[in-house]
Structure formats: structure tokens, C-alpha cells
């Protein structure tokens, strides 16, 4: 109810502003009528409304609600409708809808902006589903690190990111491992004090597993779905098997990303791989004891951005670009950090210096990993060899 009331206030504000604009512009009669007509039309239809489709956890929804409110407070002619599909309920169907619309030759959909993963982008590329974004249309795109844009051929905007890091209890671990090999040595020397979650149930566990396996392969293999790479997994898997008995309770792998954070909080283990945004949020809320610290190892764990895509079938691209331009401003990105504890989508150097300092321990970067369908083969082999072995 409150939201509606507020919306009404904003709308009436827009209306009166546009009326004022119409009145004040009396110098040139011809343009004045033209402009008055435009604003009148805008006011009557309630300005341009774009819809943003997003999924993920509740924090994603809260982030967008805040960003949209900030955006609408500054903009009087674009309204953003948020369509939130909680994780696991229909994110995939949005993409299916877009593909179906394209295939059936429709010229317009009501999906003007779609938040998704690298996977979604690749699925849509073949169908020419996404509009190419460039600085001519979205000037603030210049704030984004070019390498991340090139990775997706400018088909999407990486607007926020997070990565997997090591979360450790500094009261028990004085000097955390700095490299992957140091980490494995630490695990062997402290049996039962390290845990990673079942990789098929959460990204932090699968990042640990992928890192162990692909550290034995050339770096370019991390972003290849070539099945030939499967033959090179043996070394990684035998290392995982060898580490098994040194893991929490001699080889218990809790479920989901939260499963390992829970036993870190109850001090059953001293070190776990965790998503930077999850760990930082729980530290801020006091769900993790403040002795827990985060660090990145070398070579880094995997991580990655969340992307915004503009469907090429959208008919309201200009309004959407205006909103995108706002999302890439340092103000909006500050909201991303404060609300989501994520990394900004734009360059760190453009962010306020106190935020740069605060995120110093985790912002040293991440590697991206995308092996397509091979990921499922990793899960299967892990289940039978590491969990069942």
C-alpha cells in the first residue's frame, strides 16, 4: 500500500512538473505547442514503463528495489517495473519466453531488461537475442573494465560481481595460506578443520573443486567446453580424494554455500571457501563471529559478474539505456556494495576511497570459469569418486 501511495506522489509530481514546463515555455509558440503535446502525452500514459526481469535470492530483489527508487526519484519520464522470479522458480522460463518470441517471429516483448548469468548470455547469442551495448548509447559504460565487456562481446553489462574467497577464523589461524599449494598443506596439517560444500549444491564448493582440478590444466582450459579436457582431470580428482580424509569429519561435505558458513560460525572448522558477498553480509549482520577474516589465494578462486542484457525485441531501448546508464554510476554502484556486499561492476578506482579500503582484502580479483556442460560431468565424477570413494 505504502509503495503505491509513494508511486502516486511521484506520478503527481511528474504531472505538475510537466505542466509547469509546458507553461514556462511560451517564447516560441510552435515549439511550445509541440512540447506541450509531448509532455501531455507522457503524463497521460504515465511516462515510459520498462520492465526488468530478475531472479536470484531475496537480496537481489532488495537491491533492485532500492536502485529503482533512487532512479525514479531523479527521472521523471522512465518508470521501472520489477519482475522478480525467486531462484529456482522461473528464471529459465524468462529466457525460454524470449527465445520462443524470437523464433515465432514476434517483434515486441514486454521484457526490456533481463538479469542473468554468463550461461544465459551464451544461450541467447545463437538466437541473436541480445542488443549490443556501447558507449554511444550508454555513456557510463566507459566506467566498466573493458576486458569484462569483451568477454561477452558487448552483448551484456557486467553490473556487479563477487568471487569465492577463503573465509578463516583468525583466532585459530594466525597466518592464512597464500597459495593453493599452501592451502592443501594446511588442510593436511589440520585434519577436520577445513570443509567445502557438496559442489553440486553451491558455487563456493564447486569453485574449490574446479580450482583444484583446473590448476593442473593450462589457464585457457578454464573457459573451454572441449570434452578433451575431461581426460586431464585425473590429477585434480586424485588430489581431492587424497584430501578427503583430512576434511571435516573425515569427509563430510555440507550442503549449500550456507552449510559450510554455519560450521565456520559454530567454530567446528577453521577455514572454508565462501562467496565474498555472502560472507561479508553475514559478517556485517553478526551472523559470523568478527574473528572471521577473508582472503584470496593465488591462483585465485573463481568468481564472476552478474549481467544485465537488453533483449533485442524490446521496443523501449532508449528508456532502458537511460536506466542502465544510472546503474553504472558510482552512486548506484555504492548501493550495490553496501546492500549486496558485491564487487562493483565499474572500476574500483572510480569508487569512494573508503569503500576501496574496506574491500581491500577481497578485491584482489578472481578467475572466471565457464566449462559449459563439463561442469555437470565434474559433479558426477565428484559424487562417485570423492563422496562415494
Amino acid at each position: 500500500m505504502f509503495g503505491k501511495k509513494k508511486m502516486g506522489l511521484i506520478l503527481s509530481g511528474v504531472l505538475s512538473l510537466s505542466l509547469l514546463a509546458g507553461c514556462g515555455n511560451g517564447g516560441n509558440a510552435a515549439t511550445a505547442t509541440g512540447e506541450a503535446k509531448d509532455t501531455k502525452a507522457g503524463a497521460a500514459t504515465g511516462t515510459t514503463e520498462i520492465s526488468l526481469y530478475t531472479g536470484g535470492s531475496l537480496n537481489v530483489k532488495e537491491l533492485w528495489e532500492t536502485l529503482i527508487k533512487d532512479f525514479e526519484a531523479k527521472n521523471d519520464h522512465v518508470k521501472v517495473k520489477l519482475v522478480y522470479l525467486p531462484a529456482g522458480t522461473g528464471g529459465a522460463s524468462t529466457l525460454d519466453r524470449l527465445i520462443a518470441a524470437k523464433k515465432s517471429g514476434q517483434t515486441d516483448t514486454d521484457i526490456d531488461l533481463y538479469e542473468g548469468s554468463l550461461d544465459d548470455i551464451t544461450k541467447g547469442v545463437g538466437e541473436k537475442l541480445w542488443e549490443t551495448v556501447d558507449t554511444a548509447k550508454v555513456p557510463n559504460l566507459a566506467n566498466v573494465d573493458e576486458t569484462y565487456l569483451k568477454q561477452v562481446n558487448n552483448q551484456a553489462i557486467p553490473y556487479r560481481a563477487s568471487s569465492v574467497v577463503l573465509a578463516y577464523n583468525s583466532a585459530k589461524v594466525a597466518t592464512p595460506p597464500k597459495t593453493a599449494d599452501e592451502l592443501y598443506t594446511w588442510i593436511r596439517q589440520h585434519p577436520g578443520k577445513f570443509a567445502y560444500n557438496d559442489p553440486s549444491t553451491g558455487g563456493s564448493g564447486s569453485s574449490f573443486v574446479n580450482t583444484v582440478i583446473y590448476n593442473f590444466l593450462p589457464p585457457e582450459a578454464m573457459n573451454s567446453d572441449d570434452p578433451a579436457n575431461m581426460k586431464k582431470w585425473d590429477q585434480g580428482f586424485s588430489l581431492l580424494k587424497e584430501l578427503g580424509p583430512s576434511m571435516y569429519q573425515k569427509g563430510v561435505y555440507p550442503k549449500k554455500n550456507q552449510g559450510t558458513l554455519d560450521i565456520l560460525a559454530s567454530e567446528e572448522v577453521d577455514m572454508v571457501p565462501a562467496w565474498s558477498d555472502m560472507a561479508l553480509e553475514q559478517l556485517a549482520k553478526g551472523l559470523l563471529p568478527d574473528t572471521v577474516k577473508l582472503t584470496q589465494i593465488d591462483p585465485a578462486f573463481t568468481g564472476g559478474p552478474s549481467y544485465l542484457m537488453v533483449p533485442s525485441l524490446s521496443s523501449k531501448k532508449e528508456a532502458t539505456q537511460e536506466f542502465l546508464n544510472f546503474v553504472l554510476t558510482p552512486e548506484a554502484q555504492t548501493v550495490v556494495i553496501n546492500k549486496m556486499y558485491g564487487y562493483p561492476g565499474i572500476k574500483w578506482s572510480l569508487m569512494p576511497s573508503e569503500l576501496q579500503e574496506k574491500f581491500n582484502s577481497v578485491s584482489s580479483g578472481y578467475r572466471s570459469f565457464n566449462s559449459g556442460e563439463l561442469q555437470q560431468e565434474i559433479y558426477k565424477r565428484w559424487q562417485s569418486e570423492v563422496a562415494g570413494g
Binding site: S200, Q249, V252, I263, S266, Y379, G388
Partner: protein, 280 residues
């Protein structure tokens, strides 16, 4: 048209709506699952490949044996405990009985996820149980969570109240006169149970066993959160095959297999009911 065939038509017409609902929400999905399960994982054609995989892959076979083991042990334990509890509540007297009678079904109102987390915080490695035993000098408690024991414990927690409730209502319908006259005739407690109480509550016992068995067979939340990583119960393994590996056809085969296990139980249940109806 004769009046009897008219009545027959009416009967049929009355049955049709419920049959249609059954057809749409139960029978067609089952047939669809059977069809899906017969399609080869690579989508090349029909065959038994998914079922062969189910019974030849060592990990999957371990999962099946584990599921059947957990289900049978949990069902048997639940039945024994609930029966004892129900008899105690029916024939016992006094303050304790009254309070147990008021409280035993409380776990039924606790949602599964919350109960599962309660079990984790209670019996976990650094849980309440461990902390309470620490002053007594007991430093390590056996591993309950992420283990077979924890799973059986969770199953007991979820099923004892329901089974006890069913059995209590059956025992309540046994007249006191029967029990008292048998006692007067010199029947021992064991005889009393074997000759009177068990036969009189036998049918309800089958209802309880059927529901416990099916409930445990298809359970997911507790095994997912407190079960071991391997072997897994079929419900968890099926979810993994379906959404992590995206092998929908194999998942269908697992679903059909679970359905067969449950219908085996259902067969015994229905046979008992039919025999009973014939006898009376």
C-alpha cells in the same frame, strides 16, 4: 431402460468426475514418467538403458540399498515405539500419561525444515547435546549428523507422533470389558497383547506402516540437510540427477522405481483391507 441400468448409469456418472481428476493428476503423470524413463539419455530412442544404469552403476546401487535399509529400519523402529507409546497412553494412568497424551503430537506441527535444523543444532558436533555433556567429562559424542543415525533419528521424530495418533485411536475403540474379562480369565500381558490388542488394532497398524513407509521412502528435506554425501537416499539422489546433472530421463527411471517400491507396499495394504472386508 430398466431402473437398475438407470441406476448403474447414475453411479457411473457420479464416479466420472473423481476418476477424471485421478486420471489427470495421477495416472497420466505416472504414464508420462514411465515413457520418459524409457527414452535413452541422449534422446536417441526407447530402451531400458536408464534402468540398467540404475542397477549396475555401483554408486546408484548403493543408494538404492541404503534407501531401502533406512526405510525399513526407520519404519520398524517407529512402529515398535509408537505401539508401546499408544498402549502406555491407553492403559496407563496418572499425571505423566496425561501430559504425554497432550504433548506427543506437537512435533507434527513443527515444519520439517525447522525440525531438521533443530536436530542439527542439538546433535551437531558442537551442538547442545555435546555442550551439556561436556561438564560430565564426555568430550566426544558419536557422529549423528551427516550420518545414518541422524537420518533414522529424524525419521523417528517425524513419524512417531502420526503413528501413535493412529494407533491410539484404534486402541481407544477396544472396550475395557474385553481387556478386563481376559485378565479375569488369567491371560498374561503377552497373551493379552497377542490375542486381543494386536488383532483388534491390526488393520490400523497396516495403515500406519503403509504411510510411514511411503513417507520415508519419498523424504527429501531431512536427508538432504543431515544425510551423508554418499550413499544418499533416492529422493536426494533423484534431485541431484535431475537438476545438477540434468539427466531428466534417468531421474524419471528413479521416480518410477520409487513408485514401484511404494506400490509394492500398497499392494499388501490393499490385500489386507480386501481380505478383511471379505471376512466381515
Amino acid at each position: 431402460m430398466s431402473s437398475s441400468s438407470k441406476r448403474g448409469m447414475l453411479g457411473l456418472a457420479l464416479v466420472i468426475p473423481s476418476f477424471l481428476i485421478l486420471l489427470v493428476v495421477v495416472i497420466i503423470p505416472i504414464l508420462y514418467a514411465v515413457k520418459e524413463s524409457l527414452i535413452d539419455q541422449h534422446g536417441t530412442g526407447y530402451g531400458l538403458a536408464n534402468y540398467i544404469r540404475l542397477f549396475t552403476e555401483p554408486a546408484m546401487r548403493k543408494n538404492i540399498i541404503y534407501t531401502i535399509n533406512v526405510t525399513l529400519v526407520s519404519t520398524a523402529l517407529t512402529l515398535v515405539i509408537s505401539y508401546a507409546l499408544a498402549i502406555y497412553l491407553r492403559f496407563g494412568k496418572g499425571f505423566v500419561v496425561k501430559w504425554i497424551g497432550r504433548l506427543y503430537f506437537v512435533p507434527m506441527f513443527v515444519p520439517g525444515v525447522i525440525a531438521t535444523y533443530a536436530i542439527i543444532t542439538m546433535y551437531g558436533n558442537h551442538g547442545w547435546a555435546a555442550r551439556l555433556l561436556l561438564p560430565l567429562g564426555i568430550e566426544t559424542i558419536p557422529r549423528i549428523i551427516y550420518d545414518y543415525k541422524g537420518l533414522v533419528l529424524a525419521n523417528l521424530w517425524f513419524n512417531i507422533p502420526f503413528a501413535t495418533m493412529l494407533l491410539s485411536s484404534a486402541l481407544a475403540s477396544i472396550p475395557n470389558a474385553v481387556v478386563e474379562s481376559a485378565r479375569d480369565a488369567g491371560a498374561s500381558t503377552l497373551q493379552l497383547f497377542g490375542r486381543f490388542i494386536l488383532p483388534l488394532s491390526y488393520k490400523t497398524m497396516w495403515v500406519a506402516v503403509t504411510f510411514i513407509f511411503m513417507g520415508i521412502m519419498g523424504s527429501f528435506t531431512a536427508p538432504f540437510l543431515i544425510g551423508a554425501n554418499s550413499p544418499q537416499v533416492l529422493g536426494v539422489a533423484m534431485q541431484q540427477v535431475f537438476s545438477s546433472y540434468q539427466e531428466t530421463h534417468t531421474a524419471s527411471a528413479m521416480a518410477v522405481f520409487m513408485f514401484l517400491l511404494c506400490s509394492f507396499m500398497g499392494y499388501f495394504y490393499i490385500r489386507t483391507m480386501v481380505n478383511d472386508a471379505d471376512a466381515s
